[in-house]
Symmetry: C2
Subunit: 458 residues, 2 copies
């Protein structure tokens, strides 16, 4: 049966594009673990037509399919069982069209985020979504997970960049709506369902992305702040003064900065350690940085900011970003823990939430460490936690301490990484039975045989 299916698949995509054995197991499920891929084979179609034929065949055989992209996910959304088939769009990596009048870029789903950014830039435009895995993560994966990153406060998540989609449905039907329209109120906005659906509703094969005007210059500052209560006011004032130019408002709790200082005792940091909070502020603008400097000085004079380091060069700008992005050092300083906690919660609740979490961790393990940081402007925090022996059962305890309190404060167990498998048990903390029931109903409509990434999300 399987052999017959694989032969038929080979007839569609060519034998060279059915990978098996070591070619499968030599790949990791994701970037952050050593777990290797276990599926039946990796099928690599060359175009939408081949994807459609592959899915029609799988549908006929009730063959379960896991679509993989850059394999940079965080929640095991791309894990396959031994009898499940991987579909990879890695050969579908063409830029289809850049339309300067509509200011859109149409791409195949296997193109990387970085290739999209570069194609936009080469034509004098800007694709704003950005994250560390830009060289591997593909647009298809970004859409499947509604990737966010560092500039959401100004430009939104991947959802906000997608104007049109071409999708192959579970039965091989090609659903194409590659319009370049900012406005289109014609029935239910189906593309919104595919964005963030983690491969459970269909395979995105092409997308029309919205481009923005080219960005001229980046102005970056790091702030030291003594009280959490000052942060929302700083965010609001900076955002107001920069009039849409604020692109990042990244907060690091003291422990974050301490970890960096501990790891690099000889390094000159932009600000001295010891403050309760550090904030990275970035403005993208063609101005001379005067406005950012002025509003920060005003906040300093008002006593809301303790200290300011304003980057005066590309090197300094980069040095500030490197601190914020150095999650590897945070992980190492905490004994190799992952940075898998990615929650969102109302800003007004953040201080209490983190303090309570730390207290709860310390109660069971006085040597525990909890490093909080993230996109405060987007209500999104990441956490790195060292607790007891960091064993699997210890991690379950952390899960409960991290996720449990979110329910009552209308937070979310996943701000940007998605649910996949690792957060599935916690979905009911932020989605009601009614919501999950509707999700199941939608899944049934799109994929009645349950062959598209089965068992993920719910």
């Amino acid at each position: 049966m399987t052999a017959v299916l694989l032969d038929s698949l080979a007839a569609i995509v060519g034998a060279a594009n059915i990978l098996s054995g070591d070619d499968v197991t030599s790949r990791n499920v994701d970037f952050f673990s050593d777990e290797t891929c276990q599926g039946l084979a990796i099928v690599r179609p060359a175009n939408t037509e081949e994807v459609a034929k592959v899915m029609a065949l799988c549908h006929q055989h009730q063959q379960k399919v896991v679509t993989i992209a850059g394999q940079t996910g965080m929640v095991k959304g791309g894990r396959a069982a031994a009898d499940e088939l991987f579909v990879s769009l890695e050969r579908m990596n063409r830029i289809v069209e850049l339309d300067p009048q509509s200011r859109t870029l149409t791409v195949e789903a296997g193109v990387t985020m970085q290739a999209v950014q570069e194609a936009a830039e080469a034509a004098g435009f800007f694709y704003p979504v950005d994250l560390g895995a830009r060289g591997s993560a593909t647009i298809g994966g970004n859409i499947a997970t509604n990737a966010g990153g560092n500039r959401v406060i100004r430009f939104g998540m991947t959802r906000d960049q997608v104007l049109g989609l071409e999708v192959v449905l579970a039965d091989g039907t090609v659903m194409s709506n590659l319009g370049k329209l900012l406005k289109n109120n014609t029935g239910y906005d189906l593309k919104q369902l595919f964005v963030g659906s983690e491969g459970t509703l269909g395979i995105v094969t092409k997308a029309v992305l919205r481009l923005r005007p080219a960005v001229k210059q980046s102005h970056v500052a790091m702030l030291a702040v003594s009280e959490f209560a000052s942060l929302p006011g700083i965010l609001q004032r900076v955002d107001e003064e920069l009039e849409g130019g604020l692109c990042a408002f990244e907060v690091m709790w003291q422990e974050f900065f301490d970890c960096i200082a501990e790891a690099y005792p000889d390094k000159t940091l932009p600000l001295p350690p010891g403050s309760a909070f550090y904030v990275l502020v970035e403005q993208l603008s063609g101005d001379d940085g005067e406005r950012l400097q002025q509003v920060l000085m005003a906040l300093y004079e008002d006593g809301l900011i303790e200290d300011i380091a304003l980057a005066q060069s590309d090197r300094q700008r980069q040095a500030i970003w490197e601190i914020r992005d150095d999650v590897e050092t945070i992980s190492e300083q905490l004994g190799g823990v992952g940075i898998g906690y990615d929650v969102s919660l109302p800003i007004a609740e953040m201080d209490d939430y983190i303090n309570t979490l730390k207290a709860n961790l310390a109660e069971a393990d006085s040597a525990s460490r909890c490093v909080a940081f993230g996109h405060m402007g987007d209500s999104n925090l990441h956490l790195a936690i060292a607790y007891k022996d960091n064993s699997e059962s210890d991690k379950l305890e952390i899960d409960h301490l991290v996720y449990g309190p979110l329910k009552n404060i209308q937070g979310s167990v996943s701000a940007e990484h998605g649910i996949g498998l690792t957060k599935k048990a916690y979905l009911p903390l932020c989605r009601s039975d009614a919501e999950i029931g509707l999700m199941r109903g939608i899944k049934q409509v799109f994929d009645p045989l349950n062959i598209m990434n089965p068992g993920k999300i719910f």
Copy 2:
């Protein structure tokens, strides 16, 4: 049966909140027609609990329900048959909470757009969606239709302002997700389905809206442009120079300006008539208007702009906007036709599309007139058309000429007004069978008895 149901409804909301007879028929289905409401009664619940009880009862009785809001729609989405029941949230018009830290406003769905704008402003914030019917249109209606308006290019449509929703489903289940989170990737984003669903999937009872920093000043200019081919470049250059400050890029074809000039021969217009295109540009910013002036001067020197009128006062600013907004005069000059055509199409196709449309109209009626204008920056055009006797059968001919060509250029028959009843026949021009099939499947999941605004959209 009906009497029993009405008694039971009265027991839920109070007899005074069941309107019937003249209290129903004295209302118009929408602002732009004389069609009066024909439903069984108007039920006016006071809170979510009452809405839930009303829907549970209607579900039990398989009673069809049409939710009405500000009744300012354009596509008969709020028309009810004689045996259908209106539910109005006009008593649910409270501002629930303004959270300055999360920069959100939580409201009941019956609150007007204007009340939301005012509540935001009073707290030093800005709610960006705006349209002429702001005093009547409610947030519930805005969400049901994904209202757009004049500032979409910068701030997006209503969809982009909605962070959380509370919805009563067809069977009376309350689905509440009133989180204040910018980022929340936890399964399918169900709220996106309700936005733009025109009352067919549930009744939105509350919403969490995203607020923006207060806006300081408006700079407005009107431009005269001789060639369509110059417009995309002007848009791109202005948008780039204003760095996110561009809020409106409204294009009026020559006939629009001619109509205004004809109607007010004694009025001093900001620019002389006779140019092929007029553009209203608005920047919202705290700067002194220097940047807008500079980029416009540069475009003038490059020969892309024929003439510029830069508003120097609030009065002048208002005068320019009044021209763009004066669709009533356009309608009158064309003999009282409606302004119901609201299409979107790629900018690159607009010139050909309008020229072909005019030629086709003129072929059948040499005295026909076609006035095009709209939010070019959003790919959205409105059309006012005088053709033959403007009879119902003439309108069908216009429909075919306006909507027909959109299919091949991946345009949309409804940029912002929705589908309702009047555009239902044309939905297949911009949505495939596969898409409409999925919409029907979703409808079946949310409303298996088909009692929520039945027969609308598809």
